[in-house]
């Protein structure tokens, strides 16, 4: 079905007219969503898209290159703090601030990539976890960064103040379009990276780094590059996240967040762009919305409250949310190692060969 006959067919953005039509339809929906949904969902969508950017970036590292990171909240924090501080302290316009911040994150990614040359599996996980925690505490310890009280993001001005151009995005509605466009650019970018020589080197490293080295992949360059690219994505996501929230403190970027990011990638499907998107969307929606509102669902909510009261701790319903996320994770690993992407593939196959 998905047979490629030559290289150019493989790198085409749209594999067929059908894909193109569906993509256009999806984009139409995405661009008109805020017109007919309440403001609350627009905020939720903003958070989801920020997480999509991050998960797609993390997937390049974890899924495609086979390196683990439990420190992505650290890069996320560098992006958020970097953007806001460059804007407030140095008066740099947003567009440049977010790029510089993302490059700073990428630089730290490169640094974290160095120990990854020698470490694997659990050892790399520990190092990256340490990195994430260190960033959180360093930021908290510097008063100019707002210390532990956190900092407020300035107005999101897309113009350049120095030239007298000002275009301030105030509402969630306006920010939605900025984030949507950024997300599309980043996702298409990620897809293109994976289709090039660089992307194939990443995949070669995942399959076997010794074999990759033998066929001429420079491990030093490509492993650190994978970290840098992934951190760049996290930096961009962080820069946007700061403005979605408006106010944040170092603790926002704690280790639990790093773990949740990893859950998104695993649940979505390792090593695929679509997997990152699906995983980030599902987990964010569950965490921010559905699982918070179990009690308000008719009948089912009351049942869950009773179950929780009977068998779990006094915290109540919140137990159910934590368990649901955990169960989804376990379920995916047992029944669907390819994640939601695997489900997608099977659905696609079913419809393409229907009714046979």
């Amino acid at each position: 079905m998905d047979m490629k006959r030559d290289y150019y067919e493989d790198i085409q953005l749209f594999q067929s007219g059908v894909v193109l039509a569906w993509t256009v339809a999806l984009l139409l929906v995405l661009f008109t969503i805020p017109l007919y949904t309440p403001n609350y969902y627009v905020y939720l969508l903003n958070i989801i898209m920020v997480h999509v950017i991050l998960a797609v970036g993390l997937n390049i590292l974890v899924g495609s290159t086979g390196q683990i990171s439990l420190g992505h909240a650290g890069f996320f924090a560098i992006g958020a703090y970097g953007t806001v501080l460059l804007m407030t302290l140095l008066q740099i316009p947003f567009v440049f601030a977010i790029l510089i911040a993302a490059f700073i994150a990428a630089f730290f990614g490169f640094i974290l990539g160095l120990p990854a040359l020698r470490l694997e599996g659990p050892y790399l996980a520990i190092v990256s976890m340490g990195f994430g925690l260190t960033i959180m505490h360093i930021i908290g310890g510097v008063d100019a960064f707002g210390g532990r009280m956190g900092i407020k993001a300035p107005p999101l001005d897309l113009g350049i103040k120095q030239l007298g151009i000002s275009w301030i995005l105030k509402t969630d509605f306006q920010k939605y379009y900025l984030i949507l466009i950024m997300t599309i650019i980043m996702v298409v970018g990620a897809r293109n990276i994976l289709k090039t020589r660089v992307g194939r080197s990443f995949v070669a490293i995942k399959d076997s780094d010794i074999a990759a080295e033998v066929i001429g992949v420079n491990l030093t360059i490509y492993k650190t590059l994978a970290f840098a690219v992934s951190a760049f994505y996290a930096g961009i996501a962080g820069g946007l996240f700061g403005f979605v929230l408006g106010f944040f403190d170092p603790f926002t970027f704690n280790m639990i967040l790093s773990i949740i990011f990893l859950v998104m990638v695993v649940v979505g499907g390792l090593g695929t762009i679509l997997g990152g998107i699906l995983g980030a969307t599902l987990i964010t929606y569950l965490q921010y919305d559905l699982l918070k509102n179990i009690a308000e669902i008719p009948y089912f909510g009351a049942l869950m409250v009773a179950v929780s009261k009977q068998w779990f701790t006094m915290v109540g319903l919140e137990n159910i949310s934590s368990m649901a996320i955990g169960l989804i994770m376990i379920g995916i690993i047992i029944f669907e190692p390819l994640g939601m992407f695997g489900v997608w593939i099977r659905m696609k196959k079913y419809w393409m060969t229907w009714p046979f």
């Binding site: 309440p38 403001n39 609350y40 905020y43 939720l44 958070i47 505490h137 908290g140 310890g141 210390g147 532990r148 009280m149 956190g150 407020k152 996240f241 979605v244 929230l245 408006g246 106010f247 944040f248 403190d249 603790f251 926002t252 704690n254 639990i256 967040l257 965490q287 921010y288 919305d289 559905l290 918070k292 509102n293 308000e296 669902i297 008719p298 089912f300 701790t313 006094m314 915290v315 109540g316 919140e318 137990n319 949310s321 934590s322 029944f335 489900v343």
Partner: protein
Amino acid sequence: MIFRKKVLILLIAVLAVLLIANAAPAATLAGFDDNEIRIGQWGPQTGPAAPWGSVARGSKLLFDVVNEEGGIYGRKIKYFIRDDMYNPAQTAAVVKELVERQGVFAFVGGVSAAGGLAVKDYLAQNKVIWVGPATSVKEYVFPVQPYLFSVYPLYEDEASVLTKYIVETLKLKKIGILYQNDSYGKNGFDGLKQRLDTYKMSLAAEIPVEPTEKDLASQILRLKSSGAEAVLMYVNPTTAVIALKTAANVGYKPQWVSSNTLSDYPLMHKISGGLWEGVITGNFGEIPDSKNPLMVKYKEAAKRLSPEERWGTFYSAGILFADPIVEALKKAGRNLSTEAVLKALNAIKDYQTIGPKISFTEKQHQGSDSVVIQKCGPNGSYIELQGWTANDLATWKK
């Protein structure tokens, strides 16, 4: 394979039903109707700050009691607790969801300072009342915010009252301070300094500490060599326990004095291995086995309505943070509106239940400047040393 497909289809069906049920639009967004008034609170129920989640559940007890007694003018209080995992992104999400989809009349409590600051402006824009944040943050009420009312005493005021007690009642002259290097610790430091200045006394030692430091040997030795007889601690529970253990190891025994954030004695006694005994702290509420008739009533109610809860300081604090809104709802009368409740809140004067006397005016939304002073007895029991004491030096009252 077939089995798997069936499971999958079933799962998707269940999810779809949940989705649809969940997306059903709320009937009204006014925050109340003839049968109910909707009130919300965010707070960490899971995650690293989960022990403070009891505040939100304490408020639930108050609303349950109010509902049992027939509600307010026939309207029952429908109370929403939302877990934000101490993460401001989630605080903003749950608050927006409650305001825009459930339609919430007011918020009470709310533990995290960063979470509160992340939603403060949003609540004001949407004209949602917020009473009794469960943290002391000066930016909440200075300058005054029309929709935000604070009950929690400022750390500065508390430190000042505690210092007065150390100097005038305990008659200790050499005072040192161990404070966390953030606004919490620094506010405590300011209060101490302000009080000492009036006595023309100077500090024996001022030692800042990072909240993440795990080795306090050098700090404690500096305190010991300064000869401080009393040490004020504005630190987090972990740091406090490490400080006490280190001091015990080097044989340093000053009078430890600390803030209301460390007033959960049974917990502190347990995690410090008994060293907490004898520590003096301020508190924003009555001691758990107080004879105050309201405390007795709520304690009985808790036994009956939520027997699984531990009747502790933070749980009962949930009641006292939420009290003013109930009072204002009653005063506002049958014709409920945000304006009427705001008016009632602004008119609250010397209102006292199980906390300090609370007063608000249009220009002053910091409700109280008083704390009680308590001491940890054997096995984490409470001994009350001094009743409600106001800070006569409170800067914001002038």
